[in-house]
């Protein structure tokens, strides 16, 4: 499956929220939608989920206009919330039925998911009696119980403890492995880097960067070396302003010419007491700050 946003425009009143946004999400490959607050991520997601239409452009699924009958969506919103006073299994089955599952199938799917997440004993409890982390997991079930074709996860790891975060990572990996379209929206760059093969960065309603994350990184000049050493002093002394020490103890060397890196690596191995050296790629955080740091 392939989901495409092509030149999508959207305005609310006089405010142009999306100005010709285009990106493509492929099944089996997680996609990261990045941007600062107000960049247009939620509007993109709502257009994808057909909460409202775009003013211009197209949303295509496998080359044809998207409709709710052609694909099912699972959505974990950033603003979590369900019915606090209702029982967990009852409301989860309701949401699964709303998304098209027959009653019996919905009840069975909910029971399976609660068991999968270790929450079977919470099925008949009221939502507001559960801990925040467990409420998060209940919310995740609303997104996945109906086995959707497209999974949209908005800040999925926020508020989860490390154990639950690990559990969620496993679940997300399963969804990707099942050849689903998985779209992440998050400010946690390490999460995006861990899961996503391709990204789009929105800024001021435009997609300012879009494509395969590895290729994006490769497009940056490979002019920095990260050196691991127990004794950074000689390096800092010899390389002067071109060397900086990180908090983790690594020394970063910035090269005037990327073509010199083989020669410099040999010299480092021969003349200094180092434990290792690698070419330093830009982090997603660096890329994000570069593209989304300034409001468009």
């Amino acid at each position: 499956m392939k989901l495409e946003l092509c030149d999508v425009e959207k305005s609310f009143g006089d405010k142009r929220v999306l100005q010709g946004v285009s990106f493509t999400v492929q099944s089996g490959r997680a996609f990261g939608l990045l941007g600062r607050n107000g960049a247009g991520k939620t509007t993109c997601i709502r257009i994808l989920m057909q909460v409202f239409g775009a003013d211009g452009g197209q949303v295509l699924l496998n080359g044809e206009p998207l409709s709710r009958s052609r694909a099912t969506f699972g959505y974990l919103p950033e603003e979590r919330g369900l019915y606090p006073k209702k029982r967990v299994a009852e409301q989860l089955a309701y949401f699964a039925e709303l998304k098209g599952l027959p009653h019996k199938a919905a009840v069975a799917a909910v029971a399976n998911w609660l068991a999968r997440l270790g929450m079977s004993d919470a099925a008949n409890k009221r939502l507001d009696t559960l801990s925040k982390g467990n409420q998060q997991k209940v919310q995740l079930v609303t997104a996945l119980a109906h086995n959707p074709d497209v999974v949209i996860l908005d800040e999925p790891f926020s508020g989860l403890d490390p154990v639950n975060a690990l559990l969620l990572k496993e679940v997300v990996q399963e969804q990707i492995a099942q050849d689903k379209l998985v779209l992440f929206s998050s400010h946690q760059m390490n999460t995006i880097e861990e899961f996503c093969d391709s990204i789009a960065i929105l800024n001021g309603g435009r997609a300012v960067l879009c494509g395969d994350l590895r290729e994006i990184k490769r497009g940056y000049p490979r002019d920095r070396l990260a050196v691991t050493t127990e004794d950074p002093a000689p390096l800092l002394r010899d390389f002067g302003d071109a060397a900086t020490k990180t908090r983790r103890g690594e020394v970063i060397l910035r090269l005037d010419d990327p073509g010199e890196k083989q020669a410099v690596m040999r010299r480092l191995a021969e003349q200094y007491d180092i434990d290792g050296v690698r070419v330093l790629e830009p982090t997603l955080s660096d890329i994000f700050v570069e593209y989304a740091g300034e409001e468009a």
């Binding site: 009143g13 239409g53 959505y75 919330g81 949401f95 709303l98 919310q139």
Partner: protein, 415 residues
């Protein structure tokens, strides 16, 4: 349609399981049961009391002080006849003696008669139902007139015939009997008023709760806003109907069990013999009236970000409804339900459910006026439903700032 069905079921189940809903319905049914069984219960108590009195051979004591001489002799049998259910005990010593006898508890009540047309009545606690002064008035007035007539030359028999003369009359009602219909019309209008107001507010509150708890975030991506709104409104409407059916149905059942005990009460009997046609009108006007207001309440609920905003947001709609209620009630009590204001209100969709229904109950309304009113109401419901669904679609997505009228107008134009 499938989503509408799911939402309808979920919402209806939620209301029917609600403890407040169950409690209020049960309370109303029990309260009506107590009222409907009251005559039989009180008869049971009274019967016991009478037996007690008879066995003791005691009647309540009425102390009587009359002027001495001819007047006293003449009035003694008059009081004895008028108060046959009392042990009438003449007391010498005038008003003071009567007052003391009542104060000490030697007599239950007492009369100190000064002249043939004036007296003082003494009683410890004046009961709401104490008609002794009225009985004394009637007895003294009749005695006075009889004396006057015999003194002017008529025989006592002729005078008694004149005083006993009564006019006979027959009333033929060609339209509606307002005296009979007032009570049940008022009850039905009041039920309509309460149910629409309570359940309408409930729709608004439910929408606001979904928004404030952020359940809306999942809902709007799972179902179409129109299905969400219509599912909620129709579920509330059905719950309202179920509650009305439970209350009126149990009242009907209790009445039938106690029909003989209520036979003497024309108002109650009239209520339980309402023509079936009026019930059909009640149902139709309830449905339309409920829908038009519930749609408005739903739309308003969608524009509120916090639950606390609801009370102020719904105020204009609530006022509109209260005004309609007062127009109807004032017209009913004035006796003219066909006044110009009521006629106008009968065709305005927001007021016609109560105004036209009242006119149908209490006056003769031509069929074409009823048809026109219902047609306008149906169109009004459809239009308000359409507008409300558009507002709802925009309202549920907006948090923080309340949408302005301009935003809402723009939403109506949007496809």
């Amino acid at each position: 349609m499938k989503q509408f069905g799911k939402i309808f079921q979920f919402e209806l189940r939620g209301i029917l399981k609600n403890k407040v809903f169950l409690g209020v319905t049960l309370f109303l049914v029990v309260a009506i049961g107590v009222v409907m069984f009251l005559p039989n219960l009180s008869a049971l108590f009274q019967t016991g009391g009478e037996e007690e009195q008879t066995s003791a051979g005691e009647l309540p004591v009425l102390a009587l002080s009359l002027p001495e001489g001819e007047l006293g002799d003449r009035l003694t049998p008059v009081f004895a006849a008028a108060f046959a259910d009392y042990a009438v005990t003449p007391l010498p010593g005038g008003a003071r003696a009567v007052e003391q006898a009542v104060a000490k508890g030697e007599a239950d009540c007492g009369f100190a008669v000064q002249t043939d047309r004036s007296y003082t009545y003494y009683v410890t606690d004046l009961a709401l139902t104490d008609d002794n002064p009225d009985r004394a008035d009637a007895a003294l007035e009749e005695a006075y007139r009889l004396t006057a007539l015999t003194q002017s030359g008529l025989s006592p028999e002729q005078a008694a015939d004149i005083l006993a003369a009564r006019a006979e009359h027959t009333v033929v009602t060609l339209g509606k009997d307002q005296m009979q219909n007032f009570f049940y019309t008022y009850l039905m209008i009041f039920a309509l008023y309460m149910v629409i107001l309570l359940y309408g507010q409930m729709v608004a509150t439910n929408v606001a709760v979904e928004k404030s708890s952020r359940a809306m975030e999942v809902l709007i991506t799972s179902a179409k806003p129109v299905a969400m709104m219509f599912g909620k409104v129709f579920a509330s409407c059905t719950a309202g109907l179920i509650q009305l059916a439970a209350v009126f149905g149990s009242a009907m059942l209790f009445y039938q069990l106690n029909e003989s005990a209520w036979a003497g009460n024309g108002l109650v009997a009239a209520f339980f013999h309402i023509p079936v046609g009026l019930f059909v009108y009640l149902l139709v006007f309830f449905l339309f009236g409920f829908l038009i207001y519930a749609f408005l309440y739903g739309a308003i609920g969608s524009t509120a970000s916090k639950l606390e905003d609801i009370n102020t947001s719904v105020m204009p709609v609530t006022f509109l409804f209260i005004i309609a209620f007062f127009v109807v009630v004032f017209s009913m009590t004035s006796g003219n339900v066909d006044n110009l204001l009521m006629k106008i209100c009968s065709f305005v969709p927001f007021t016609s459910p109560m105004a036209m229904f009242t006119r149908i109950c209490m006056s003769a309304v031509p069929w074409y006026e009823i048809a026109l009113s219902l047609a306008l109401l149906a169109v009004g419901v459809a239009a308000v439903g359409w507008v409300s669904a558009k507002i709802y679609r925009v309202g549920v997505l907006l948090y923080g700032t309340k949408p302005t009228l301009r935003t809402l107008a723009a939403a109506l134009k949007r496809k």
